[in-house]
């Protein structure tokens, strides 16, 4: 809110206090997006590591959909490539939005196993970023998505320090914290997050944990699933199938 805005509000104050103050949360919720009711959903994502081909389409789509600063830095989602070699060393790299670079000097006979791991905000049920935000500008909405209030974030970057997964960054233009929000604007329209939409191999699945039948429901039923850094007690809602122990 800018200064003029604040002053204008100040003038309208006496008239409006009664009105806005008297409006119930449910009433506000209704005008969000026609008949979208956040409290009836609880979103999560499933990622099947064995299906990811490291094409980088999700990274590209995310940047397009959410106007994330152009490459090479800052990502709301990215894909890591793990190579575990015969000498037990682990080489990790972030693939580029142009997909994996084929020439990396790694020879197949030195490889024990190798795979790609897509990463994004885990939308934790106990998010450390929400806990530490001094002004409450980041919060969990009723549908389980951790959102950032770009109008009130002061850019102290405490949340970036608190996130164990490195998914947050300071947006270089707005100078406030930014991160994946499951493409919130798409969810309320009944669309899939952009990364899920374009994933060519269904390595990413999206769904509503409150819904009886959703792709995610089947995913967590049919797979042994794991979350990232479970010992930190953040309770992520991004579930991984076939995740390797080296991934953190």
């Amino acid at each position: 809110m800018d200064r003029r805005d604040f002053l204008r509000r100040l003038c309208l104050l006496i008239a409006s206090t009664g009105m806005t103050g008297g409006m119930s949360a449910a009433a506000w919720a209704r005008i969000i997006h026609k008949d979208y009711d956040a409290s009836r959903h609880y979103y999560g994502m499933g990622i099947d590591v064995d299906k990811c081909i490291g094409c980088g389409r999700c990274m590209q789509a995310c940047k397009t959909e959410n106007a994330v600063p152009a490459p090479p830095f800052y990502f709301r989602t990215w894909v890591e490539r793990y190579v575990i070699k015969t000498d037990r060393s682990v080489t990790v790299s972030t693939i580029s939005t142009e997909g994996v670079q084929p020439t990396d000097g790694i020879v197949e006979k030195d490889m024990v196993r190798s795979f790609f791991v897509p990463k994004l905000c885990n939308q934790c049920a106990h998010p450390p970023c929400v806990q530490v935000c001094p002004v409450g500008a980041t919060f969990t909405s009723d549908d389980g998505v951790v959102l950032v209030d770009t109008k009130r974030c002061i850019g102290c970057r405490y949340c970036i320090q608190a996130c164990p997964y490195g998914v947050r960054y300071l947006h270089p233009v707005t100078r406030v914290a930014d991160k994946c929000n499951f493409c919130y604007h798409r969810l309320v329209r009944g669309l899939l997050p952009a990364c899920v939409e374009v994933c060519p191999t269904q390595a990413r699945l999206f769904g509503d944990l409150k819904s009886v039948a959703s792709p995610l429901g089947r995913f967590v039923r049919m797979n042994k699933v794991h979350v990232l850094k479970p010992y930190l007690n953040t309770d992520p809602k991004v579930y991984y199938a076939n995740l390797d122990g080296e991934v953190n």
């Binding site: 830095f73 990790v92 002004v135 970036i160 320090q161 996130c163 164990p164 490195g166 998914v167 406030v176």
Partner: protein
């Protein structure tokens, strides 16, 4: 485009793997300056409280100086935080909707409490009688400044002065836990981040506290040795020796706690130990092993042992105390650096190290940091002028 170039440059210095968003260090030199400054505040206040609460008579000459030092630094303490915000104009939000679960949200309240209820009140009661007297002697702006500062009170009767003294003592008693709170809480800001193994430690507030006491005593000692001769007085050696002995014990306690923390980490040898060892051995070797431990702790400790054992001459003692004070300041500043910057140099994937390239000119650059460290001394000079800590006869007194 410039930013991209800057980051590409940084990316070349990354060792191993970091999460892509970790390319940027988020808490810069300003956040190093902030705990350093609040540490000085808390430490100086603890020194002052030694006089009032624990009746250490020898330290009386440093009492008012310590209070004014604490105030001068406390006034600047919020500035580095404010300047480092992405949106500094929104900092007031912290008072509108403070998030009670956030250690940082409590900053404003702890700060206000300490500034208004502890420090300003104590200084006011301590100086009230003198301000009334001085306003009678002074003329012009200074006269009115003193009158306003004393809130136009006029009562200098014995009964009123006795009340002042009693109040000062009570405030100091409240002040000690408050000073602990002020700096322990700064430690908690770091110590409570479970995502970061370099920070996440229950010892963090304690380490912060004792390093604060060390730096606070040392800065008052340095200031005492500079300001008294400048005002034409003579340094009270008894006071200086006493201060140095408190400093000596404080350093020992601080050192022990840090060593305990270190051994504990090494012995438990958790998941993060490999990357933390790599961090200490490479990126932090200079600032942690050389500056913080060798030059900032062990060397001053050794010098102070030498002073005590060999009963050196007054002049030599003064010189050595001064050098110790400077070394300790350097050491404590390195401590802050190693916590704040060190904690961000390794990836939370525990697979790589990144680099901090300090700006020179920018708002989060070196020059601003230096300016922030100089301003308190300017404020202190003004305060010393307006509210002299020593009376003429005290300065002239020889030991």
């Amino acid at each position: 485009m410039e930013a991209v170039q800057h980051f590409t440059e940084l990316a070349k210095q990354v060792v191993g793997f970091i999460y892509p968003n970790e390319i940027e260090i988020h808490w810069s030199i300003l956040i190093v300056v902030y705990p350093y400054i609040t540490g000085l505040v808390a430490g100086a206040f603890i020194l002052a409280s030694l006089v009032k609460v624990f009746n250490v008579k020898e330290l009386q000459p440093t009492y008012r100086l310590a209070l004014l030092t604490a105030l001068a630094f406390l006034l600047i303490a919020p500035l580095p935080l404010q300047l480092h915000l992405g949106r500094p104009e929104r900092s007031f939000e912290m008072f509108l909707t403070p998030q009670l679960s956030s250690a940082m949200a409590m900053f404003g309240f702890v700060y206000l409490w300490y500034l208004m209820v502890v420090l300003l009140l104590e200084i006011w009661f301590e100086y009230r009688r003198d301000m009334i007297v001085w306003s009678g002697e002074a003329t012009g702006v200074k006269k009115w400044a003193l009158k306003i500062l004393s809130l136009f009170s006029t009562d200098v009767s014995e009964k009123a002065v006795a009340f002042d003294k009693k109040t000062v003592k009570i405030i100091t008693v409240i002040g000690i836990p408050s000073a602990f709170l002020l700096h322990g809480y700064v430690g908690f800001i770091f110590g409570s981040i479970k995502a970061n193994p370099w920070w996440s430690s229950v010892m963090m507030p304690v380490v912060f506290l004792f390093s604060a006491i060390v730096s606070g005593i040392a800065i008052v000692m340095l200031l005492y040795m500079i300001v008294v001769p400048l005002r034409g007085g003579k340094i009270d050696m008894q006071c200086l020796d006493k201060m140095a002995s408190f400093l000596f014990y404080a350093v020992i306690v601080d050192f022990s706690i840090e060593v305990l923390d270190f051994i504990h980490r090494l012995y438990e040898s958790e998941e993060s130990i490999k990357i933390l060892s790599a961090l200490v051995e490479t990126k932090l070797f200079m600032s942690l092993v050389i500056l913080q431990i060798l030059l900032g702790m062990l060397l001053p400790l050794g010098v102070m042992v030498v002073i005590r054992v060999f009963k050196l001459q007054e002049e030599v003692r003064k010189l050595l105390y001064f050098v110790c004070g400077l070394l300790i300041q350097l050491g404590i500043f390195s401590t802050r650096w190693n916590v704040v910057i060190g904690g961000q140099l390794f990836s939370k994937s525990f697979r790589g190290l990144t680099t901090y390239k300090m700006e020179l000119m920018g708002i989060e650059g070196l020059l601003v940091a230096v300016a922030l460290l100089i301003i308190p001394f300017v404020i202190l000079a003004v305060l010393l002028n307006l509210l002299p800590p020593w009376k003429k006869e005290e300065l002239a007194r020889t030991t």
